[in-house]
Structures are given as C-alpha cells and as structure tokens.
C-alpha cells in the first residue's frame, strides 16, 4: 500500500516537472531581426503561414508601421536566413525489376522490394528577402541540393501598393504561384510525402511515351502547380488579406532560366476568408492554369535546338482550395482537375500522326491535410491524397492505370524557439501506391506491371537561422 502510494507520488512529481518545463512559444523567424516578432506570429507552425503571416507576405514583407524601409535598420542588418535538415530516412519501393542472380541478366528478372536507409541531409536554402525601399520588396533564394549544386529557387522584385492601393501589386521574376495551399510551406519533408502528388501529376502513359521517344521529341511538357515559375504577377488583397487575387503571365518553361520558348502561360487565383465566430478565419479559393508546351524541337544538323520548342500544344489545370479551422484542428483541402492535349498525352510531335484511338488524358485529384496544433511548439500532421484518371489515353487501357493513393502522417516538435532561430524535430511516415505503374517483366505480355508502393520513414532536425 505504502509502495503504491509512493509510486503515485513519484509519478505525479515527474508529470508535474514534465508539464511545468514546457516552454511558452516565443520564436523569431527570418524577419525577426527586423521586426522582433516571434515565429508563431506569422506561422501556424513554421513554415506554414497563419492569417497574420499571409497579410505580412501580401503587404510585401511589410508591417506598415513606418519602419519597413531598410533605412530604419541598423546598417549591419542583413536579411538572410538559411534552412537545412540533417536526417535519417528509409526508402522502400515494391515490385522493382531486378536480376534473378545479381550481375547475370541472362538468367532472367524477378520483382523484389528494394529498401535503403541511412543518415543524410537535405538541400540548403539560403534566403534573402525583405524591402529595398518602402513598398518595394524583394526575394532571392539560392537553393542547393544535397550535393551542393545550386539553382535559384526564386528571384523577384515586387512593387507594392501601386497607385496607393493594396489591390495592385506587381511582381517580376521567378516566384511561387499564388495559391491558398502552398507546397513550399508544407509540413512534410520525406521523399514520398514532401510534395503534393496532385500538384505534379503526369499521366502514366505520358511518362511512358516520353521515355521511349527519340531526342528530337524529348521535350518536357511537365507543369507543377507547386513549382516556382518565371513571369510577372499582378496581385491584390484586402486590408486584412481575407480577400486575395493574383493573375500571372508566365514563360512556358517551368521556371527554367535561359529557355524562353517564345510562348506564355496564364495563372489566376482567387480566395476569400470568412471570420466564423470562435472558429476563426475559414478560407476558400479557386485557381486555374492554362499553358502550352512544345512537342518537338527545331534541329540543327539533326541535333535539337533546345531553346526553340515548336508545335506547341495546350494543357490546363483548374482547382478549388480550402483552409478550415476548428479550434486546434485545421484542414487544408485541394481539388484539381487536369487535362493535357492528346499530343502531349502521347508524347507525339505535332507534325507527326497520332497513335490510333488516342485521346487527351484527363484526371481529378485532391487531398485533405489535417493539422492538430497542440501548441505552437507541437503539431501533428496527416494527409490523405488520391489522383484518379477520368480519361485514359486509350480506351483499352485499364481504368486505374496511373491512379495514385498517398498517405502521410507525422509530427513536428519545436523543443525551443528562441529569438533568432527555429528548430524542429520532424518525424514522418509516407506511403504512395501507384496503380499498375511498376515496370513489366521482360517475359510479360502486358505493357503494364503491378502496383508500385513506395514508402518513406523520416526523422530529421529541421532548422532555420
């Protein structure tokens, strides 16, 4: 009896200590050196923005307190942050075609699961952003992959509040397409969960055709809603950023500098927030993309001239988005409908005949991403995503060819957030099932293989300074 009582006392003491050492959230994001606000002021859980962060970004990284121009800053102030994630991860893929006896392909092939794991680190972001002057903002984000190879993830200058109205802001450069659910600010990091499938979906047949094409038609008609694009954007917002719009004219080159391609794409988005009593702001929106991609290259002595794509064919994406809050739980929801021209869908040059019976592929997809923000320092995340082909390139193709189911869950714990940096312990599991997408065995008579399942386990320390 006495022992049990003593055990209960010790348990309560330990529980008390654990509960009382939980620190209040007070973190400083990249702009902290300028504005001295905690990370949680702008981020639901960084990098995901909250309502105040959305408004701050919409104003061109300005608070409007007459201290926005860099002239008010200490001359030593340098608006730089970096972010990188040392990690351990495990990647596994089912139904991979491997030799029955390694090193001896003549003995035939079989399906096997391939798994790898180990310590690693992510790429590095070195981000400079802020204001050049009052109402002129900028961003430069050189980003490296884990081998240290750099590219520019974004580069832009933005003129804010043109004609003294917040409804007219002009941005020029390479930037993220304005969308309610940002892939750049997602709370998933693993190889399988760290991007939205539906933002980058390409029908399976399209991938298959392109892989077998000769170099002259090895164009890349890819478009990713989450990918930064080169162009010019006109945007605007209400004072509290509940109502927002953007219209962008983009080069048809998926944000690749040096390849103007001479054609342009369009992006438009609109979203509206509603304050719903004690639930907070609920937002709904819509977006549309209309673009074109070349189907073959001009040639010089038979070699493709990569900067001159010809035979453009069109594609579009349209979708609905929503952000819904119920106390500590919030849902990010996206629905996307996609269509590619039949020439793109079959990887056929526009000056060549189409395969018999081919049609432009269409598909629908979407996801519900749930966040449970226990506190600004502890967030549980989960996502269910599906993509379903609604029209295959050929009537004879299986209806579910290339369909995708994806599932992810994890948590981010910010053990402390002090004045100039952020650190998150990030754990995550992701599973993606791609229907009939594994390569067929050489002995198979079917052009399609079984389902492909890929999974990731991820544990990392995500930090930004």
């Amino acid at each position: 009896m006495l022992l049990r009582l003593r055990a209960a006392v010790i348990f309560i003491l330990v529980l008390g200590v654990v509960l009382s050492v939980r620190q209040p959230a007070h973190a400083i994001p990249a702009f902290a050196r300028k504005y001295d606000l905690p990370c949680s002021a702008c981020h639901e859980a960084w990098p995901k923005l909250n309502d105040f962060g959305i408004a701050f970004r919409d104003r061109g990284y300005q608070l409007g307190n007459e201290k926005d121009s860099p002239i008010w800053q200490n001359p030593s102030y340098w608006p730089i942050t970096f972010r990188i994630t040392p990690e351990w991860h495990r990647e596994s893929s089912s139904n991979q075609v491997v030799d029955t006896v390694p090193g001896n392909p003549a003995l035939g092939q079989i399906y096997q699961d391939v798994t790898t794991h180990g310590f690693d680190f992510s790429g590095l972001d070195i981000w400079a952003a802020g204001t050049l002057y009052k109402d002129i903002s900028f961003s430069v984000l050189p980003s490296a992959d884990s081998s240290g190879s750099f590219h520019f993830e974004n580069v832009f200058v933005r003129f804010d509040n043109l004609f003294r109205t917040r409804w007219l802001n002009l941005k020029l450069g390479k930037f993220e397409l304005d969308n309610l659910v940002s892939e750049k600010r997602m709370l998933f990091l693993s190889s399988n969960g760290g991007f939205y499938q539906v933002y980058h979906y390409t029908p399976f047949r399209e991938v298959q055709f392109r892989a077998s094409n000769p170099p002259i038609v090895q164009f890349n008609p890819v478009f990713g809603i989450g990918d930064n694009q080169l162009g010019v954007e006109l945007s605007g917002h209400s004072e509290n950023s509940y109502a927002r719009y953007s219209v962008a004219l983009l080069s048809s080159n998926e944000g690749s500098p040096g390849l103007p391609n001479r054609t342009y794409d369009w992006w438009a988005s609109f979203n509206q927030g509603f304050a719903v009593g004690k639930l907070g702001v609920q937002r709904v929106g819509a977006f549309a993309f209309f673009g074109q991609r070349p189907t073959f290259f001009n040639t010089s002595f038979g070699s493709p001239v990569l900067s001159e794509g010809l035979g453009n064919k069109s594609l579009y994406r349209a979708g609905l988005t929503g952000l819904f809050y119920i106390k500590k739980v919030d849902f990010s929801t996206v629905f996307v409908h996609g269509w590619d021209n039949v020439f793109l869908g079959t990887g056929t040059a526009a000056n060549a005949p189409l395969p018999v019976g081919a049609r432009g592929p269409t598909w629908n997809g979407g996801f519900v991403e749930t966040h449970f923000t226990y506190s600004p320092q502890l967030v549980f995340v989960q996502r269910n995503e599906i993509v379903r082909m609604s029209r295959q390139v050929f009537r004879t193709d299986p209806r579910d060819l290339g369909d995708i189911d994806a599932f992810s869950f994890g948590l981010r714990y910010y053990p402390f957030m002090f004045s100039r940096a952020g650190l998150a312990l990030h754990t995550e599991y992701s599973l993606v099932r791609s229907y009939k997408s594994a390569s067929p065995l050489p002995t198979s008579t079917s052009p399609f293989g079984p389902d492909l399942r890929s999974s990731s386990v991820f544990i990392g320390l995500d930090f930004a300074f």
């Binding site: 309560i12 105040f52 959305i54 004045s419």
Partner: protein, 278 residues
C-alpha cells in the same frame, strides 16, 4: 501516524503541482460591441503573438524587449497611452481593442487586423488579467467629444497662440519638429528616454490619425509619457483650434479632406464592432 504524514506530503505536492503547472487565470472578459472576449482563449493567442515582446507575465520584459525601442508596454501597471478615458484612468475595452487593431506607428507593435474581431476581443480580455486594476476598478465613461469646429484661418491662428501659451513648443519645438528645449530630457514612466512627436515628418499619430484621435490625445494625454492631459487647461473649442494648428505642421500629410467617416472607412471600421461577421 505514518499514513497521516504521507497524506500531508501528498496534499502538499498536489497543491504545489497545481500552483506550478497552470497560471491562475481570473475569468476576465472583454465586451466590445456585441462581442464578448474570453481570457482563456486570449491566453493561447497571447502566447502565439505577443509573448516575445510583452513577456509571459505581461510586464513588457519579453525576450525581444532589450532590442526594442520604444519598449513594449508593461500591462501589469495598468497604465495605457491610448484611451478615451480621462488621464490616470483605465482604458475601456474598446480602447484596448482599437490599439490591438491599429498597432502603434513608429514602434514594433503591428496592426493585428488580420486576426478576427473575436480573436482581438479575446486578446483584450487576456491582457486585462495582468493588472489587478482591472479587477479592482472599472474604467470611467469615455470623454465626451463635441463636434469639430470649422478649420478656418481664425481657428488655426488661435491654435497657434495656444500652442505657444500651453508650452507645447517646449517639447515639440517651435515648428513642431520635436526639437523643443525639453526634448532631450524627456523620459517615460519606466525611465526610458522618449522623444516628442515630430509633426513635420509624421503622417500618423500613435493613437490614430484622424482629427478626432488628435483631439482625444490632447484631452486625455498619453499616460506613462510626459504628454499631459489638457482637459483642464483647454476648452473643447480651444482644443479643436490646437488640432487645426497642428495639422498645419504636418508637412508630409496628403491634404485630402478628412472626415470621421472616411477615416473609419480607411481603417475598415465603418461598421459597428461586432455588429456582423467580417
């Protein structure tokens, strides 16, 4: 005997535990228009948005406070600059709500307009828990504000004379540049140096930007700063004259016709607070 001692230990530990784990929150509320703010909800918001500057105890000693000028407000003292109530009195809930909504120009306090009205009301309720004054007394009625007189040459001339007579110039300077002979000596109630407002470069005042806001600042003073209340020294008509004169010192202000209504519209406050959802 042994059991009694154990029970006493157990009870003591439980008491300590409850005292340590949770800060005691008085069921503080705020009432702004049709909205009722609740301190319990405001606490979560405070820890997310405000704690970095104002500190977990609301004493203005957050982790960023050493780097901030002007210093964050100490809520514990119950002294607030922007009020509609007489000097020395507590602000109304609506005063605090407006401060949260508007932010303070030339300080690190931003406008929290992107938060919903309910969230801002909740924050006000929680801010009130830091000072015992809000439990012990009620704010008096706001100062009455008579209609603005015509801003003509006569009024401006009268305002100029009052500006000299009431020694406004000793802090704000002869031309309103904040360079009066006392300017260098001014400190706030915490002993930090505080410069007088420079009318020549400023386009907005700390507690608003309309003529009504300026009148209110004159008549209520900015508690905690050297700016006194002139409620006993000026008649309402004289206060309007000073307002009109001060406007002539503001070189950077775009001369659009200011009316109370279009200023409210500019701030998105044309509808009564809490009357309907945003």
């Amino acid at each position: 005997m042994k059991h009694n001692r154990m029970r006493a230990h157990f009870t003591g530990i439980l008491v300590l535990l409850f005292a340590g784990v949770g800060q005691v929150i008085f069921a503080q509320e705020s009432h702004i228009g049709g909205l009722t703010g609740e301190g319990s909800r405001g606490k979560q918001l405070y820890r997310r948005y405000c704690v970095g500057c104002h500190g977990p105890l609301g004493d203005g000693r957050g982790e960023n406070a050493p780097w901030i000028d002007p210093k964050p407000r100490d809520f514990v003292t119950g002294t607030f600059k922007c009020r509609s109530t007489p000097t020395g009195a507590l602000p109304t809930d609506e005063d605090l709500y407006k401060s949260v909504t508007r932010g303070f120009v030339n300080s690190n306090m931003p406008s929290w307009l992107p938060l919903t009205k309910q969230q801002r009301a909740d924050l006000v309720a929680y801010v009130k828990t830091f000072s015992s004054s809000f439990r012990e007394e009620k704010p008096p009625s706001p100062l009455s504000m008579p209609s603005e007189s015509a801003a003509n040459q006569q009024s401006i001339q009268s305002g100029n004379e009052l500006y000299q007579k009431m020694n406004c110039w000793s802090c704000h300077g002869k031309e309103g540049r904040g360079d009066g002979p006392s300017a260098q000596t001014l400190v706030d109630n915490r002993g930090y140096p505080i410069p007088p407002y420079d009318f020549s470069v400023g386009t907005r005042f700390k507690c608003g930007e309309s003529n009504q806001d300026l009148y209110r600042i004159l008549m209520t003073g900015l508690d905690g700063t050297p700016m006194p209340s002139f409620a006993n020294g000026l008649t309402p008509a004289q206060a309007w004259d000073v307002v009109h004169y001060i406007r002539t010192l503001q070189m950077n202000v775009k001369r659009k016709k200011q009316t109370a209504e279009n200023e409210k519209k500019d701030r998105g406050e044309s509808k009564p607070v809490g009357a309907q959802p945003e």
